[in-house]
């Protein structure tokens, strides 16, 4: 999949009409200077030749250098990737912390006011655009109340408290959608399991409510884990918008800047890393599925 993505991406970036040479060399660059720039970087070669040269250099010298800053792209990624990964991980944890209990509560109080309230809130959460929600959260919690900083991620060196505080709003801006979506999924899965014969049997045999609840949750988890795993991958995509709103110097900001500046090697590297994240998160979700669902191990 990575090969397909990288090849398609490679072709797409080179379809843009503006040469990176114009951006790097500036407005007054002559045709000869632009030609020389493109020749130096192999941009005047055929697309397959450029692509194979790029693939060949990966194991030797990594992603190479940025056309614009001249910095090593590997270093750029080392700076921005952890920021995005941390944001997505915190978002994911917030999602789990919200979606699982809310889904459970809604299922256990089916058709009573807590269930109605949670369903209404989850419907709102999946309906509200993340960009708008982020702006509202900033307005209320950062501007009005001054509880958290409105932009950026406070470095850990300034204390974990401050660091965590700066992560709350961006993470929440993404997580609320997934809490809404996954709590509904959790609710449906739990309700389905609660209707199974073995649950009634367990109750009638006098098993403790805690033990029954464990069985219920365990059997309701497989569909939840599958979707949650995919959501983890999608969260990298969401981060593009949210990092912009909160001015977070993560992978997505680096990607947007690279797109604006036609920094081909940076665009390729960033998208490839995001794609890899998506693949890995799906793989991990599959493995967890197999762990909690013995039937899949033999499938």
């Amino acid at each position: 999949m990575l090969i397909v993505v990288s090849a398609v991406l490679f072709a797409l970036t080179r379809l843009t009409p503006l040469s990176p040479a114009r951006i790097v060399l500036g407005a007054d660059a002559t045709a000869e200077q632009i030609q020389a720039f493109e020749h130096d970087r192999g941009l005047d070669r055929s697309l397959p030749a450029q692509y194979s040269a790029w693939v060949a250099q990966l194991p030797r010298s990594g992603f190479g250098q940025s056309y614009i800053t001249g910095r090593s792209i590997d270093l750029e990624l080392l700076e921005s990737l952890p920021v995005t990964v941390e944001l997505v991980v915190v978002t994911f944890l917030l999602t789990l912390a919200g979606a699982i209990p809310l889904g459970l509560i809604a299922a256990l109080t089916e058709d009573r006011w807590p269930d109605h309230l949670i369903r209404m809130l989850s419907l709102m959460a999946v309906s509200v655009p993340g960009f708008w929600l982020a702006l509202i959260l900033v307005r209320v919690f950062a501007v009005k109340l001054g509880w958290v900083p409105p932009i950026g991620i406070t470095p850990l060196a300034e204390g974990w408290h401050a660091h965590l505080a700066s992560l709350v709003l961006p993470a929440l801006s993404i997580a609320l959608y997934y809490i809404g979506a996954l709590s509904r999924l959790m609710r449906a899965a739990v309700i389905e399991v609660l209707g199974q014969d073995y649950v009634r049997t367990a109750h009638s045999l006098g098993l403790s409510r805690g033990l029954v609840a464990r069985y219920v949750v365990k059997n309701a988890l497989p569909p939840f884990v599958s979707v949650a795993g995919m959501s983890f991958g999608y969260m990298f995509g969401w981060a593009i918008i949210i990092e912009l709103v909160f001015n977070i110097p993560g992978l997505s900001r680096a990607l947007l800047t690279a797109i604006t500046q036609r920094d081909y090697p940076m665009i390729q590297a960033t998208v490839l890393v995001v794609t890899a994240m998506f693949i890995v998160s799906n793989l991990v979700a599959d493995l967890i599925q197999r762990l909690i669902n013995p039937r899949l191990r033999h499938a």
Binding site: A27, P114, F141, V143, I151, T154, L244, T260
Partner: protein
């Protein structure tokens, strides 16, 4: 089925306490901050002063690297690393500068005439590909006369030379390129300039941090110990940062927020604006392409453009309407030429009737979809509606800035609406668009022998009585031929917290931060 009892009050209180608790440390930390923090929209692609193209990102270069002269807040030239303004030869081709003898680079190296020669020679060498080298190619030589005296010899008289010197250059130590390498200039130029800020660190798309230069030659002009330039590309985020006291000053605020917040001192915010000299908003028509190949059509478009409404209603007074390439408040403004193109629909219809496109015309108007300083999208829409009243159909074509510039440089566009930012010289834009071999010449396809002669004449003088009539004649030619539709002069405008002293918008767009004192800093 088990039932769960929820206590809503406890649930909500718990959430609030969690978020509030996390935020407590942030509020305390912000109060302890001892630095000046500013936010600009653009990520500097380099810290090298000879390659920085973006005007708001120039703030980082100008804190490190200085020039022989500078432009003050009012737009007047004044000495910087030079002791006084230069002595200029009678034929205006030789500029001799006496340099200050009390300046050292941040790395301790004394500043001398050798450094000036070295910096300019380096920049002029075509192999080094300096971004604005083309504006300097009129320099024949830079000669060291003694340790603190340097002479610039020009090939021909060129008045804008001094204005360009204030913006598109920076002096670095002799031998520094060989010693440190270009990568250091590009990424971490610690100790390489004479400026007030010593580079400390930078994170791409995030922040550039400076510490005060303790040996700065203007002893009492730095009122901060630390300065952080935050890169905040999203305009709503810049406003939020200012409102929440995370930054003291912001560059390029959105127009609507600027107007709303400027008066809101109760929120601890104020603002100000002043004309950005040399910066204009205009529609550059391609006179080689129909329908702009007909001067009557061009005049019809200009006369049908209600600049006053655009300036007041769309840009809230942050554009000073003008039908000629000069602000109405400037001493070189030709009111008569401007009057001839003032909004007049009847006259516009008459000119259209005289044109080859009397039965109707259609053209594509390009503009940037990414507002920088001023978002021209609404103005483009207004122009479309205005010209529809004449029967002229305008197809609006928003483009990403890079694509737009490429189209304009290649001269592919029929017309483009853009704000051009330049140095304070009044002929910068005229020269760039209408004279041969300039980067944007193809965008207009227009040339005029008379205009070129006047431009050359203007380069030989620098005093108002001599320059005024020449600039007035140039405006008259451009009004008569109307190769572009001028909308007006744009303003430089900023918002800042009321506890900031000594800050004012800079006529050159780039933030000036040397004399700025945040009163909450200790």
């Amino acid at each position: 089925m088990a039932s769960v009892s929820l206590n809503r009050r406890v649930f909500l209180q718990g959430g609030a306490v969690t978020i509030g608790g996390l935020g407590g440390s942030f509020a305390a930390r912000a109060a302890d901050e001892r630095s000046l923090v500013v936010a600009i929209p653009s990520n500097p692609s380099t810290f090298d002063p000879i390659n920085q193209g973006n005007h708001d990102a120039m703030v980082v270069n100008q804190l490190i690297f200085e020039n022989l002269i500078e432009i003050d807040g009012e737009g007047r030239r004044r000495p910087m690393l030079a002791k006084a303004m230069p002595t200029i030869s009678a034929d205006r081709t030789e500029y001799v500068f006496e340099l200050r003898d009390d300046v050292t680079f941040q790395n301790g190296q004394p500043f001398t005439a050798e450094d000036v020669k070295y910096s300019y020679d380096y920049m002029l060498d075509p192999t080094h590909k300096a971004l604005r080298r083309s504006v300097w190619t009129n320099i024949e030589s830079v000669d060291v006369l003694d340790r603190y005296k340097v002479r610039f010899k020009l090939k021909t008289p060129f008045r804008p030379f001094l204005d360009y010197m204030t913006k598109y250059m920076g002096i670095f130590p002799a031998g520094s390129r060989e010693k440190y390498g270009n990568e250091v200039f590009q990424q971490k130029p610690e100790g390489l300039g004479t400026g007030p800020g010593i580079f400390v660190s930078a994170r791409s798309n995030d922040v550039v941090e400076f510490r005060r230069n303790p040996n700065y030659w203007r002893k009492d002009s730095i009122a901060w110990d630390r300065l952080r330039v935050r890169i905040v590309s999203e305009e709503a985020a810049r406003i939020a940062a200012l409102l929440s006291k995370s930054v003291h000053i912001i560059g390029a605020p959105p127009v609507r927020d600027y107007v709303r917040l400027r008066q809101a001192r109760a929120q601890g915010i104020t603002g100000g604006s002043r004309p950005a000299l040399g910066s204009l908003m205009l529609m550059i028509h391609n006179t080689r392409k129909p329908p702009f190949d007909d001067p009557n059509f061009r005049k019809a478009v200009s006369l049908a453009t209600d600049r006053k409404t655009i300036a007041e209603k769309i840009f809230n007074g942050l554009v000073e309407p003008s039908a000629v390439p000069a602000p109405a408040s400037a001493w070189w403004y030709n009111a008569k030429a401007a009057e001839g193109l003032a909004f007049n629909l009847d006259q516009a219809k008459a000119y259209l009737a005289k044109s080859r496109y009397a039965s109707g015309a259609e053209f594509e108007l390009l503009y940037s979809s990414q507002g920088y300083l001023l978002d021209v999208g609404d103005a483009a829409l207004f122009i479309q509606a205005s010209l529809a009243r004449l029967g002229i159909k305008v197809k609006l074509q928003p483009l990403e800035t890079g694509q737009l510039i490429e189209q304009v440089f290649a001269g592919n566009q029929a017309s483009v609406l853009m704000a051009v930012i330049g140095p304070s010289d009044p002929t910068f834009i005229i020269q760039g668009i209408y004279t041969p071999n300039q980067v944007m010449t193809r965008s207009s396809g227009y040339s005029s022998e008379r205009l070129n002669t006047l431009l050359a004449d203007s380069f030989r003088v620098d005093d108002e009585p001599s320059l005024g009539p020449i600039l007035a004649d140039m405006q008259a030619i451009l009004a008569e031929d109307s190769p572009s539709t001028w909308i007006g002069a744009i303003h430089s405008f900023n918002l800042w917290r009321t506890n900031v002293q000594g800050f004012e918008p800079n006529t050159g767009i780039t933030l000036r931060l040397t004399d700025v004192a945040p009163t909450d800093a200790r």
